[in-house]
Amino acid sequence: MYFDPNEYLLNPVISVLNWAVVVGCLTFVVLFVSMINLFATRGAKGIGIFFDELGEMASDLFHLSPRRIWALTRLTYTEAIRRKALAVFVVFGLLFMFAGWFMGDTKEIKPDQVKVYISFVLTTISWLTLPVVLILCCFGIPEDIRLRSIHTVVTKPARRVEIVLGRMIGIWLIGCLVLSVMAVVGHFWIVRQIPAESQPLLTCRVPVYGANIEFIDREGNSARAGVNVGDIWAFRSYIEGATKARAIWIFKNVDESFLDSEGNLNFENSFSAFRSYKGDMTRPLFYDIKFFNPAKNLAYTTDPQPVNEFRHKLDKIPNKVTVDDVQYDILKDFVNEKKELLVEVSCIDREQYIGMARSDLFIRMPDRPFWMGYWKAILGISLTLLLITMIGVSASTMVKGPIAAVLTFVIYFLSLKDNHQFMDQLVFGRVEGGGFLESVYRLVMHMGPSQELPANPAFSVVKFFDWMLNNFLWLCRHVIPYSQYFNMPEFVSNGFDVPWDTSILPSLLVTSAFIIPCVLMGYFALRIRELESK
């Protein structure tokens, strides 16, 4: 079990820079393709038309009418409702009527039970609303062009930007309507289905994570990571018991607000245990937590605590602690001038290991109500819907409905965590074996990825081609959104509140980054093509 919010942690400056890169890349792609298209269809004068259109668009921006946009929004909204888009509620109703049968009794593991219920509701809502929005946004404008209804709109003073915006807002509103109804039902369903004894777990923890985690090896030297106990993919590093091995967290900006009402600092962990010998399997491994302030040469170590394997464990550390019969105040005496608190965790059991990652230990602030996190997760889904809508509508201005739907789905699929991370690896050269052509050559020739290619002009061409392709992939990597930013339901189903700065803000930035290029794309696609269905 792991959940690492580090992936969401973004520096605001980097976020804004990323935003600018996404906007820049997308805008460049849109303008470049539009110019090429105009050149191909209208010859040399197409270039002049392209610049005229740029000016025309700028002029259109000053003539935008909220009433016209709202008219097109209402049209889209009415169309969706009258074409039975709300039939999705039937599927939703059926799923929720019978879901309880299959999710009944996991009472023995209450946190898992709560997680499964929340996760089920939020996943179901996502996977029901996404296809509805995908279909609506990809087929609206192509159908208008096919049936020529768009002739009666573009021969009115409606600007192309208004058509695109009206469609986007209308479809998003429909998506939000469906989402809101499902979210309300889902909320009541969760609260009613979860047994009374598990209800206290229905909360949103507010964690404050350490800025960093550092490791000390068994000899007492600083190490990049702990011990790898054999996992191919290591989320956690392990520290060996009864040695000098340690993990050190640095918590920043620690002050009185971190104390609970009883004056305790609440440390919660989800350490994992790895045994190098069986022994008594019912006996837990033990760890201790040490607070230290090198400047004052002061340290306080807690009593040994058992590792709660596969679960969370809360350690309430009183702010007033006694060291050598002298009482100290953790916040005053252990927090240094930079307002940093150093926390060290070590394993007590000899030849046993405790695994930990940065997010495995945090200071738990007062909890927030469940509904707050739940509705933030719904906000995350609605932002995903908006993103899909923008991409789908702008794609549908260029190609026919089914193609736009496939294109949008592929972009969404590539935006998923694993796919996007794989793109990252390719773009930043973390995958051995070279680029596309080189790896094909290696496959055919049965060459290992680390084997050197022979020095040959042909391979220079291959490498150059791969370099070009890699640059194109770099562009795609920036153009395709990273859907993990929008994955707020994951926070809630893991029992956390959705943080504003590390999740909501990045997702808002990513969404806003797509508005300008998508509208631009829609404008150009509708302006430079003849709206005659052939």
Binding site: A40, D60, H63, R67, R68, L75, T152, T155, E530, E532
Partner: protein, 299 residues
């Protein structure tokens, strides 16, 4: 804008449709040039595929010219702002079929940035003008007959009280009553000083309402001029009078013979449209009355 001001200016307009690969497929229009003045009713005539609708779509900016230039109300066809003063009735009902009549006009009214009060007032007025029955106004357009769809189409074209009205086959799908209403409407628009450009291959309709016509064939302009001038037979003289006695008729014939005139004498017939309209009118005034002259059809 003065009476002689040019509303539509077409210069050397050509349109070539191309296939997916950009190869020329059809030359739909070839070097068309014409002007349409303010306040006139202009008819574009021609058989199917002659380039009438293509011309209209080029004027509206729905298609891009291959060559040539178009100015509508003094602006380029691509300029959206020209649409503020244009009304367009497409060839078929391309309206949103899931809206009802009120919603349709309200939607198009919003596109002209009209206020709610303006939209409401204008919608009522237009629905009365096109004679759409009140009980039909709340039904979705997909339930409408072709004639009803044509009527609501006309209403949406006039929602902004346009200076220039472009009508593509305006009488297509209409019964003779609707046809007459449409022609009356066009004449009424003319009386209001509006410019009307209509495309049609129904010659009688064009003859009844148009001031000037242009006949296209194979994408080329073949004939253009005033209807009355084009249709006047210069080598013939027509005399009409009330019914003459046999003696008077004989006397007239003798006079014509003396002047070596090539003539025929018969009684004029009304058009079928006139007969139909008269019958419907009488039926409305005298329900149940029948006036059957063909005895075989009675048995």
């Amino acid at each position: 804008m003065s009476q002689s001001e040019t509303v539509i200016e077409i210069r050397n307009l050509s349109k070539v449709y191309r296939d997916f690969w950009g190869r020329p497929k059809v030359r739909a229009l070839n070097a068309l040039s014409l002007d349409i003045k303010k306040g006139e009713v202009f008819g574009l005539l021609g058989p199917n595929g002659s380039g009438k609708t293509t011309t209209l779509k080029l004027l509206l900016g729905l298609l891009f010219p291959t060559e040539g230039e178009v100015k509508v109300l003094g602006k380029s066809a691509a300029d959206v702002s020209k649409n503020e003063r244009i009304g367009y009735l497409p060839e078929e009902s391309y309206l949103y079929r899931f809206l009802n009549a009120y919603e349709t006009l309200d939607f198009y009214g919003r596109l002209f940035d009209m206020t709610a009060a303006q939209r409401k007032e204008r919608s009522e007025k237009l629905l009365d003008l096109v004679k759409l029955a009140p009980q039909s106004r709340r039904r979705q357009l997909k339930e409408y007959s072709k004639g009803m769809q044509r009527r609501i189409g006309v209403a949406q074209a006039l929602i902004n009280d346009p200076d220039l009205v472009m009508l593509d086959e305006p009488t297509s799908g209409l019964d003779p009553l609707g046809n007459r209403d449409m022609k009356d409407l066009i004449l009424d628009l003319k009386a209001q000083g509006k410019t009307v450009l209509m495309c049609s291959h129904l010659l009688a309709d064009v003859q009844d309402v148009c001031d000037r016509i242009a006949i296209l064939y194979g994408g080329e302009l073949k004939v253009m001029g005033r209807v009355d001038e084009l249709l006047t037979a210069q080598d013939k003289t027509q005399i009409r009078s009330s019914k003459l006695s046999d003696a008077a008729l004989k006397e007239v014939q003798e006079v014509l013979k003396r002047h070596d005139a090539d003539f025929t004498v018969d009684q004029p017939t009304a058009s079928l449209e006139d007969l139909f309209l008269k019958t419907v009118q009488e039926s409305r005034e005298r329900p149940g009355h029948r006036n059957v002259t063909d005895r075989q059809s009675v048995t």
